[in-house]
């Protein structure tokens, strides 16, 4: 029996729906609408059908942004997964001070992405950054100008990835740790009786059992990493020469700096379609895993 009549459900839902429609759904529609037009400098609009989309597909910067986003997501999330899993396993042990260590290790979780970007921008600077000084002292590089983390095309993206890894590995660790702590003790008992080694326990019990958690965490992280903006904007603003330009940054730049509403909207729509497809696909996959 459902105590909620149709009318009640409406009352409960309406306020939220109004907010989301006004500031999320409606802008989305505006975006789609704008993507089919071209806005000139004078503000005059002309319908150009899929013209903006064609422009995107033939634009070098668009493909570079997409490629960068792909690299960023794969590398960052990959490393975050491995590190997060290692740390989760480490912190699932009981030893003196483990909860203190764990609390400390979660510090980056709370920091604003913008601030994280600024911290790493400061640290990786070849003028006043401490990273190069440390590397030089350790003998890994010849001088503090050997690696130009933020102004060298080849490493700019990597610098952003480093900041992202610092920022979100604690989140991965948290999720995976929660998953590990949910494993029933009987499994470990059985392993102990069978005389399994610790490595065997990790690879044959822990990882398979928390697979749903790993997949959920991956989906969340992949989407969030793809949408990254604050960190990149703080560190390199997409440069130098678009080497660290992600799709989010590209869209923003096109809108703010170049005022090309139509083109930016088209890129945004494409981006949204990609993200939603990934989400839908992984939702199906997660459901299948659960059915097993």
């Amino acid at each position: 029996m459902n105590i909620l009549k149709r009318r009640d459900i409406l009352y409960f839902l309406l306020p939220s729906a109004v907010f989301m429609i006004a500031f999320l759904f409606f802008p989305l529609l505006m975006l789609i609408f704008d993507s089919f037009f071209q806005t000139s400098d004078t503000g005059a609009r002309s319908f150009i059908g899929f013209g903006n989309y064609l422009q995107a597909f033939t634009s070098g910067v668009f493909w570079k942004s997409t490629g960068n986003t792909l690299i960023y997501v794969i590398v960052a999330v990959g490393i975050e997964l491995v590190l997060g899993l290692t740390l989760a396993i480490v912190f699932s042990h009981k030893f003196k001070g483990v909860s203190v260590l764990r609390t400390l290790a979660l510090t980056p979780l709370m920091i604003a992405p913008l601030v994280a970007g600024l911290i790493w921008k400061f640290m990786l600077s070849n003028q006043f950054g401490i990273v190069n000084v440390l590397l030089e002292k350790l003998g890994i590089i010849a001088s503090t100008d050997s690696i130009l983390w933020l102004s060298d095309e080849r490493v700019a993206l990597i610098s952003c990835i480093i900041a992202d890894i610092w920022l979100t590995t604690p989140f991965m660790m948290l999720m995976l740790l929660a998953g590990i702590q949910g494993i029933s003790d009987s499994l470990f008992e059985a392993a102990r009786i069978e005389g399994a080694t610790r490595m065997q326990v990790i690879f044959k019990i822990v990882i398979p059992v928390i697979k749903p958690v790993i997949i959920s965490a991956l989906v969340i992280r992949v989407i969030d990493a793809a949408r990254s903006f604050d960190i990149i904007w703080a560190m390199t603003q997409g440069g130098p020469n678009f080497s660290s330009e992600l799709l989010s940054v590209h869209i923003y730049e096109m809108l703010q700096r170049y005022g090309d509403v139509g083109y930016a909207s088209a890129v945004a729509v494409l981006f949204i379609i990609i993200l939603i497809s990934i989400t839908m696909l992984s939702m199906k996959k997660v459901w299948n895993v659960e059915q097993k």
């Binding site: 009640d8 459900i9 409960f12 839902l13 939220s16 006043f128 610092w166 939603i276 939702m283």
Partner: protein, 284 residues
């Protein structure tokens, strides 16, 4: 879990030692950047931008903090950030829990399925995409740079996340409670307020904390929608980014002041954070 029964002996002791070493090492590495900024903010202001940076300050001073307060009305910005974050979180949690309640009680119907799919899609939107349309809407409504704007916008943006998290909490509450309350003559809203909410309190608190964090840390919308009146701290900090502004001392103090309260609060609410991530992960 790994409480030492498996693989005992010197082998086990080696493992335990390795675990402690790895844990400590990683924690130290992860703490390093934040500690470095903290220490930098306490350095004399020219030492912060010296070309031969050191880890430890030569002298502990609050110069940078003083300069920061002098160079901009950072106190106002903090207040703006606080209002925007707290009020939008309250709105989000209230509206979100009501909507989640309704959804959880209509699960399985086509309507709730469609609604949930829509919410999921909205949750996945890249914010830079909708930021400019939102800016246009805000302008049209005459709400540019008003304090209330960010409160409203943050509420809207964070609602999908709140809904997504809370639906699972409400689903876990058995419908028998509803029925019992109904039999006792409670209206749906009374049932919601007096019965369901207390049961779901931990989940609601966890979601609230995460939402607060999202609103506090937001940069993009604050950048686009505010100018001088309703500016928040992240925007102020970003202004230290301009290429020719080399006075990074105040930047480090602002960054420290901005993150410190959140970090301290997080120490106290760890329990809720863990349970929130757990709920978010085991959801589907």
């Amino acid at each position: 879990m790994f409480s030492g029964e498996i693989g005992e002996g010197w082998h086990g002791k080696l493992w335990n030692a390795a675990v402690i070493v790895i844990g400590t090492l990683f924690t130290a590495i992860f703490l390093f950047p934040y500690v470095y900024i903290l220490l930098s903010s306490l350095k004399p202001s020219d030492e912060v931008i010296s070309t031969t940076p050191t880890f430890w300050p030569s002298d502990f001073t609050l110069e940078n903090f003083k300069n920061m307060f002098n160079s901009m009305p950072i106190g106002d910005y903090f207040v703006n950030s606080l209002w925007a974050a707290i009020l939008s979180t309250i709105i989000c949690v209230i509206l979100g829990s009501m909507a989640s309640f309704a959804i959880s009680r209509t699960m399985g119907s086509k309507f709730s399925y469609i609604f949930l799919v829509c919410v999921l899609c909205l949750k996945m939107l890249p914010l830079t995409s909708v930021a400019v349309p939102v800016y246009k809407i805000v302008q049209q409504l005459g709400l540019y740079d008003m304090k209330i704007t960010l409160i409203v916008v943050y509420s809207a943006i964070n609602l999908p996340f709140v809904l997504w998290m809370m639906v699972s909490f409400f689903q876990a509450v058995p419908k028998d409670l509803d029925e019992a309350a109904c039999v006792d003559g409670a209206t749906p809203f009374q049932t919601f307020r007096k019965i369901i909410l207390p049961v779901c309190a931990p989940g609601i608190i966890s979601t609230g904390i995460f939402t607060l964090l999202l609103a506090w840390n937001d940069f993009l919308f604050a950048l686009l929608l505010t100018s001088t009146n309703a500016k928040t701290v992240p925007v102020a900090i970003s202004e230290f980014l301009t290429a020719y502004n080399l006075d990074l001392g105040p930047m480090t103090s602002a960054a420290v002041l901005f993150s410190l309260p959140v970090i301290i609060i997080s120490f106290f609410v760890q329990r809720y954070l863990v349970s929130a991530t757990m709920a978010g992960s085991v959801k589907e």
